[in-house]
Structure formats: C-alpha cells, structure tokens
C-alpha cells in the first residue's frame, strides 16, 4: 500500500489527482485519515452538545427540584408534565449523559480525532495501515451514535440504569421503564461502538509499529504517538470484555439465561433466574470501565505534553520518564478495576489488593504532573489558547487526581462511595481534564485540519469562562459528597438532613449553566473559522514535528514529494547552537552536533 502511494508521491504534479474524487468519496465515504479525523471530531462535537445540554437539564432539576420549567416542557415533552421533570427521565438523562460523554465524546471524539489525524502525520506515513478499515471504523461509530440518539425517543424511555448499567436493574423492564427497548438499543449501540473502537485501535497499533518513516525510532516519537499507541493497546485488551458483558446481558434479557441474575422477586412474581451474580457483571464491566478512564485521559496527556513543549519553547522534561509513566499507568490500569467494587460484596481481601494497586497509580501520575510543571519552568511561554487549556489540564488533573487517594483507599471509600465526592473526583480528573486536552488539541491542530486559524481572543474568552465554571461546578461538590449526599437522587427534598446543601446546589447549577452557554463561544469560533478564519501558515506554532512539514492544503498521501526522513527527537526547542528556537525532526544533525541521549 505505502509502496504504491510512494511511487506516485514522487511525481511533481501530485495536486492533479489520478483518480478523480467525487463528493461522496472525499467527504462522506473517505478513506483519508485527515477527513476521517474531521468526521470523528464533528460527530463528537454534536454528541457533546447533546451531553452537555442534558447535564444542564438535570442540574436544573437538582437546584430547583420539581419546579415547573419551560425548558423541560419544551424539550422533554411527555416526560415533563406541566414542565415538572419526571423522576424516570431524570435517571435517563444522567445515564445517557454519562454514556455519551465517556464513550462518544471523550473516547471516539478525542482519540478518534487525534489518533487519526496525528498518527500518520507525525510518524511520517501516507495514511493509516488500512484506510478502508478506518472508514468502516468511523461509520460504525456514526451508526452507534445514531442508535444511541434514537434510543432517546423510545416510548417507555431511554436506558435509565446509570451509565454502568448494573443488572438486575438494567435487565428487567419491570424494574425500570428504561430497561425495555431503551436498554436494548443502548446495548446494540455500545456493541457497534466497541467494534468501531477495536477496528480503530488495531489500525493505530499496526500503523505505529509498521509505518514509521526512516529514522523515526520509538525513542524519537512525539509523546502524542506514544499516548495514542498505548491507548490503542489498552482498548484492544479491555473493550472485548465489555462486549462479552453486553452479550451476556443481552442473553439474560432476551434468552432467559442467568449469568447475572438470581433469586428475584419483583412486582408480585418470582422470576426463574437462578445462580447468576450481578457481581460478575460488575467485574466484567469495570475490567473495561477502569482502563476506559485511561483510554480517555492518556491521549489528552499526550496532546498536552506536545502542546506544552511547543508553547514553552522547551523540550518536554523527562521524555523517557514520561514514556515509562505512560506504560506504568497502562499496566496498572488493568489491575485496579476492583476499586469500584470495594462495597459490592466482593471478598474484603480483594479490596486490600485493589487498594494497594490503585494507590500505586498515583506514583506515575505524580511523575507526569511534576514533569509538566518542570517543562514550563524557565520556558518562554507562548500563551496561545491551546497552551492555556494545557495548563488548565494540569491544574484540574492535580485537583481531581488528589482526591483519588481517598477514593482508592477502601476504608475511606466506604463512606464516600457513590456520593457527590465521586462525581467531583472523576469529573475533574478525567472529564474536565480530558475535555481540556481535547480543546487544547483542537486549538493547536485546527490550522492543520482546516488550513485556517481559530480566533485567539475568542479562545481566551472560552478558556477563562470554562476554567472558572469548571472549578465552580466541581470543587464544592467534594464537600456536598463529604456531607453524605448520594448521587443520582432526583431530589433531596425528602431528606431534611441535606437541606443545608440546597444553596450550594443552586450555585453549582448556575456555574454549570454559564459554563455550558460559554461553549457557544467555542462553537462559533470552530465553525466560523472554517470559512472565515485567517489563512494558516504552514507551521504557525513553529513546532518540530512532521505534520507541520506537510502542505497547508490537504493532499492524499500527505507529502507531495518523498516522505521526510527523521534525524532527531521531536523536542529540539531552544537547543543551544541553533539560531532559531526550534529544529524540526527532518533537519539533519549539524556536524559535531549530538543528539541528546536521554
């Protein structure tokens, strides 16, 4: 494949295409990784808007419980009689918000966009190893998104068992209205999503291993590629387990098996299930579910590392330690799933083991945080919007990560498990952080994707409002959680015990609404810059990596001539002995110049 492209890559008049691209092959069923990346991004953005809108709705219900609201009446229809949100749809909103944000936005939208865009460009490849599989991967993702959105319109309601869909609640339509057709569609959508994710991951792995250009050894790879590569490996290891859990659940639901169900009496009748265990499902779910949070955060870490180095005009500090910590996190991430299950009824001895492995993850995470801080130390920081989001990423990653010390400790988890403390923790450490990583990536690589620049002042406005609102929403939640308020409560008004938290909940909701509306600034910037943004230069941020050696106008095969060779690592910023403060990877070493052996 690469050989054939190579030959016509040498022709001078490459811009005149040999095979004429029609609208359909160029914009819809494209096999070009750059177009597929944009497709992922735009689909992810649309899903993100839906997910955020849902969160604003259920936050309004929490702040002003059971108060009529015109917005609910307008958007929820029969689920909000007289504008009062129904308890079932509240749970459904919470469930679908979680599913959409974790999988459709922060897995496919983030990893799908940037792995596709950057892997071939940064390693020096004409395209992915299999362009066709790549296209299939996107269209499966699109299909699963469509099914997930359609499930919102099911008569008995969408899935409402929490994004973790623990059976028996998710298995029995008698237990929850959303566990009928809504849950079936959820499961089908996720099964297709997993197939899409696996095709994508295999492609990324093969491409990184096989298609690196001459000189691009593994220790010269930008950290973005390391992050995408390891993420893909974790995905291949853990996603199939979720698929198996989903399939077994489908069998329990539709074919009367008892994998996860046993001894159930509901609505006046005993069900036939015997011998299964919901705890088994929890194990299978979290065997993916925990690595999943690293599938979300590692690509963000990679993007942030790259952007921080480039905008600090400094090499990333501790390149090898950064790789080692990515690998350590990846390994540990597969043996900590039990910390979601300390009080599930699992053997307490297992709880001890998982406490131990979980707290170990803090070590590579701390190394990464310190290395980022040292990277900006004595730098020459270019405060582009991407850089602000990267600094914001480190800030929220630290704030959110630290409380993991409490949640990972089984003895302490007993009391804050499933409270707002957990919500605060994971939204900061993987939700907001990963979102910041994604925004940083979009601001930074927008010129590469669309050939135009985003407006920086709108970017600043977007960042600062978002940053303040993110803390405003999630910081006080820690305290509400420590006061014992359980998550997923439709209203707290049945508990006078929590009355003194009501004002805090109103403030949180106000921050959430402002933060949500602020995203309009971003959406405007994103879509209008596509057409009216300032034309981009070839290398606007003066970065060293190979993607900035390709022409601004996208061509199939990426480089008009031969693929550049690589002579150095990707972090030669402000290297002594050079006139400019960056030396691209394709510039040969000067005579007598040593490549840094770190």
């Amino acid at each position: 494949m690469s050989a054939t492209i190579d030959t016509h890559g040498h022709e001078e008049d490459h811009d005149v295409h040999h095979h004429k691209e029609t609208f359909i092959t160029k914009y819809i069923f494209s096999i070009d990784h750059k177009m597929i990346a944009k497709q992922y991004l735009i689909t992810g953005t649309i899903m993100g808007v839906i997910g955020v809108l849902m969160s604003i709705m259920f936050r309004m219900q929490i702040a002003w419980p059971e108060k009529p609201n015109l917005l609910f009446e307008a958007l929820l229809g029969k689920w909000a009689p007289d504008g009062v949100m129904d308890a079932d749809i509240y749970l459904a909103l919470v469930t679908i918000h979680g599913t959409i944000m974790v999988f459709f936005v922060l897995t496919a939208g983030l990893s799908g966009t940037f792995s596709n865009l950057l892997i071939p460009l940064q390693i020096g490849a004409r395209d992915m190893a299999s362009g066709f599989l790549n296209m299939v991967s996107y269209w499966l993702f699109f299909l699963s998104s469509v099914i997930m959105v359609c499930s919102l319109f099911v008569e008995a309601g969408p899935a409402a068992a929490g994004w973790t869909i623990y059976p028996p609640l998710s298995a029995l339509p008698m237990a929850s209205g959303g566990s009928g057709l809504g849950m079936t569609m959820w499961l089908v959508s996720m099964a297709i999503f997993i197939a899409s994710s696996l095709l994508g991951s295999l492609n990324y792995i093969v491409t990184v291993i096989n298609l690196r250009t001459k000189g691009m050894s593994m220790t010269r790879l930008p950290l973005t590629i390391w992050a995408f590569f390891v993420t893909a490996v974790i995905g291949v290891v853990s996603f199939p387990v979720l698929l198996s859990a989903a399939l077994l659940l489908i069998m329990d639901r539709s074919f009367g098996t008892s994998f996860f169900l046993s001894d159930i009496f509901i609505q006046g009748e005993v069900l036939h299930y015997q011998g299964g265990s919901p705890v088994l499902f929890e194990h299978l779910f979290w065997f993916l579910g925990h690595p999943e949070v690293y599938i979300v955060i590692l690509p963000a870490m990679g993007l942030v590392s790259e952007i921080m180095a480039s905008n600090s005009r400094k090499p990333i500090f501790g390149y090898r330690a950064m790789i080692a910590s990515i690998l350590a996190i990846a390994f540990l991430s597969t043996i900590v799933w039990g910390h979601h299950m300390f009080i599930s009824g699992m053997n307490p001895f297992l709880g001890s083991v998982f406490t131990f492995t979980t707290l170990l993850i803090a070590i590579p995470s701390a190394v990464k945080a310190f290395n980022w801080i040292t990277t900006i130390w004595k730098g020459n920081l270019q405060m582009n919007p991407a850089m602000l989001f990267s600094i914001g990423f480190v800030s929220t990653f630290i704030t959110g990560g630290l409380t993991g010390i409490i949640l990972g400790d089984s003895a302490l988890d007993i009391n804050v498990h499933d409270t707002y403390f957990v919500i605060a923790h994971f939204h900061l450490v993987m939700g907001i952080s990963a979102l910041y990583g994604m925004f940083a990536g979009i601001y930074h690589w927008y010129p590469k994707m669309f050939g135009r620049m985003m407006n920086k002042n709108l970017g600043y406005l977007h960042f600062w409002i978002t940053a303040i609102c993110a803390y405003g929403v999630f910081f006080p939640m820690h305290f509400i959680g420590m006061a014992g308020l359980p998550r997923r409560y439709y209203t707290n008004s049945n508990f006078p015990l929590f009355d003194d938290l009501a004002n805090a909940n109103v403030i949180i909701t106000l921050f959430a609404i402002v933060g949500g509306i602020a995203q309009i600034v971003y959406l405007y910037n994103f879509f209008s810059s596509m057409f009216f943004g300032k034309k981009a230069e070839q290398n606007p941020w003066r970065s060293t990596t190979l993607e900035w050696t390709t022409p601004v106008k996208h061509i199939h095969g990426n480089w008009p001539g031969a693929i550049p060779h690589v002579y150095r690592w990707s972090y030669d910023y402000s290297k002594p002995g050079h006139d400019v403060d960056f030396v691209p990877q394709n510039v040969p070493l000067k005579e007598g110049e040593e490549e840094l052996q770190h």
Binding site: G177, P315, V394, L458, A502
Partner: protein, 352 residues
C-alpha cells in the same frame, strides 16, 4: 404551544449570543493581524494565571467556610468510625498541602515565564535526581497511607465473632427497607424469595418451618442498642441497592442472590447526638432554612421542624423512587431497646 414558544425563545437567545460573539469577533478586524499569541497576550494571560490561582484558593476557602463542617470527618457514631475519620483527616491534610503547593508552582511559573520576544527558553531536557526525588516522595507518603488504610479496612471488615454481635438482616426492595432481628437465639431463620407469600404477609420469604425463624422479628424502623456490636446480613429481592449509613461510616451493597454483611458498634445514642454541640448548630441552621420555605414544606406534608435522626439511605441507583428509599435508625440504651423489642410481633405472629 408554550413548548414551541420556549424552543423559539431558547433558539433566539442562542442566536443572540452567537451574534454577540460575532460582533466581538468582527470588532477585532484590523487590531490583530496574527492569531498566534504575541507579547501582549502572554502578559495578560500571565496575569490572569495569577488571578486564577487566587480564584482556586478563594473557592477552597469559601467551600470550607460554608460547607466545611465536614460531617463525615467528625462525630462518627460508631467505634470504627473514629479510625476512618482519623485516616480521612490525614489524607485531607496531605491533599491540602500538595494541592496548595502544586497549584501555586504551576500558575506562578505560567506567570513568571510568560513569553517575551527575544527571550530564549532554557534547554533542560532531563534530570535524573529530580525525577528520582519526585518518584520517591509519593512512594513514601503513599506507603504510609496504604498501610494505615489496610489496617483500618481489615479492622472494619473482619467481624469478631467473639464479641457476640447481634445478627440483624437488612432487607431491600424497590423502594423500601425492612429489618429482621434474629431474636433470642441470635440466628436468622432461613429465607428465600421463592418462599415469599404476599397473601400470608410473609414478605421476606422466611421459612415458616425453620425453628430459628420462630423468634425472628421484622420491623420497618431500625433500633440498635448503644455499645452492642451488630452484624448486618444484607439481602435484596429485586435489584442492587446499597445500605448507606453515613453517620456510622458504614455502607454495603445488597445483592440479589447473595448475602452480604457489614458490622459495627454504635457508640452514641440518638438522644445524645441530638445534644451534640455541632449537631445542635447544624440542625438550627437547617431549621432556619426550612422556615424560609415554610409554605412549600407544609404543602409537601413533611414536618416543618427537623429533628436529627440517624438514617439508612439507598445509595445504589435502583429505579424511579431511588431518591426516597430510606429508613430511620434509632440508637438507644439497652433498656429502651428491650422495651421496644417487647412490643414487636414475632414472625409467626405477624403472618395472616
């Protein structure tokens, strides 16, 4: 019709915001030629970084000020709760120190090293000693926390049979709790959902022929004698539930098809807890807030004035009325407990 109008209004607001952003965008034409940050941007955003650092500190202080009575770190009402609270405080102190310092360093550096034309960054790629230091320090701190945590965890989860704990079953169903006391023999009668007989009011599926079941007592309000170790055997008849008793630092899931357990010793009676100075203040505060919404609360049928009680809450999403699945817990002296128990019907007498 109102729905349609609302959608139109929301759309108009969105369009208006969009247009405002557009005006902001167009107003800059001519003022900036490049979309890459220049010295002016670096300077402003550098200062804003310091502003943001202050914002983080302020929100931390405000949260502690308004929400920081930290009910889950003091006044635990169980024996093991004291240990949990200690560990929580130690962890919080560690987190607080690290958070304050690292956020300072991060934002201060972002301000201090903001870019200027002509400045050159330091080429500084690696320092093994530094990396060694910040690998080892977390290792030491975490080792301490892990060891303390594991001792506490084992202490909580190992139920000491020598202490002769009172056996109580907690029974969960959509959407209420029941408790079954094991009676004088301290052994629960056998039970299975297949034995549930609604017509005979055997709602827990207790085996009527089991001799151990004859002195069992089923109630809907949990009473515990102070100072008496108890072990809860938990069951659920339909979906997952979680028995969460925050004041006792206790929680365990109830899983259909299996019996889970959690044990603790309550140390403070409900009456004493109501006298507790912190609690008096908290309750007073809550009642002030409740008086402000008097009409609304009276309409909902709740008692207007709140009086403190221990609670058992469901803390695992379990369906529509998950948000209202609770049971009152009363901790009292042994005499009061015995007197209360005497009034309850035993299982055979509770059947139709």
């Amino acid at each position: 019709m109102t729905a349609l109008l609302t959608i139109i209004i929301v759309l108009f607001v969105a369009v208006a915001l969009w247009q405002m952003v557009k005006i902001f965008d167009l107003a800059q034409v001519g003022t900036t030629t490049s979309q890459v940050a220049d010295d002016h941007d670096n300077k402003i955003n550098g200062y804003l970084m310091i502003g943001f650092l202050i914002f983080i500190y302020v929100i931390t202080i405000l949260s502690f000020w308004y929400l920081g009575d930290l009910p889950l770190m003091s006044n635990s009402a169980s024996e093991h709760g004291v240990e949990v609270d200690n560990l929580m405080i130690i962890s919080m102190v560690v987190i607080f120190i690290v958070q304050t310092l690292t956020q300072f360093v991060l934002h201060y550096f972002a301000y201090k090293y903001r870019g200027e034309k002509g400045k050159k960054a330091l080429f500084y790629a690696d320092n093994t000693t530094l990396e060694f230091i910040w690998t080892v320090i977390p290792v030491i701190v975490l080792a301490g926390l892990i060891i303390y945590g594991l001792f506490t965890w084992n202490d909580i989860m190992n139920i000491d049979e020598d202490e002769d704990p009172m056996v109580i079953e907690l029974y969960a169903q959509q959407f209420n709790w029941k408790a079954r006391y094991s009676g004088a023999d301290n052994v629960l009668g056998k039970a299975n959902v297949r034995l549930i007989d609604i017509d005979r009011a055997n709602v827990l599926g207790v085996d009527e022929d089991d001799p151990n079941a004859q002195d069992d007592v089923i109630v809907t309000e949990l009473h515990l004698p102070v100072g008496q170790p108890v072990v809860f055997k938990m069951r659920s008849q339909d979906v997952l539930h979680s028995a969460y008793m925050p004041h006792f630092r206790a929680q365990m899931n109830c899983v259909p098809g299996m019996v889970t357990q959690f044990g603790f010793t309550p140390t403070i009676t409900t009456a004493d807890m109501r006298e507790n100075a912190d609690m008096v203040e908290k309750v007073k505060n809550i009642n002030t807030l409740r008086l402000e919404r008097k009409a609304e609360i009276e309409e909902s049928g709740q008692e207007l004035i709140y009086e403190f009680d221990y609670l058992l809450l469901c803390n695992k999403i379990c369906g529509t009325s998950h948000y209202n699945m609770q049971m009152k817990i009363i901790v009292e002296t042994q005499e009061e407990f015995d007197a209360w128990m005497k009034e309850q019907k035993t299982f055979p007498n509770s059947l139709n």
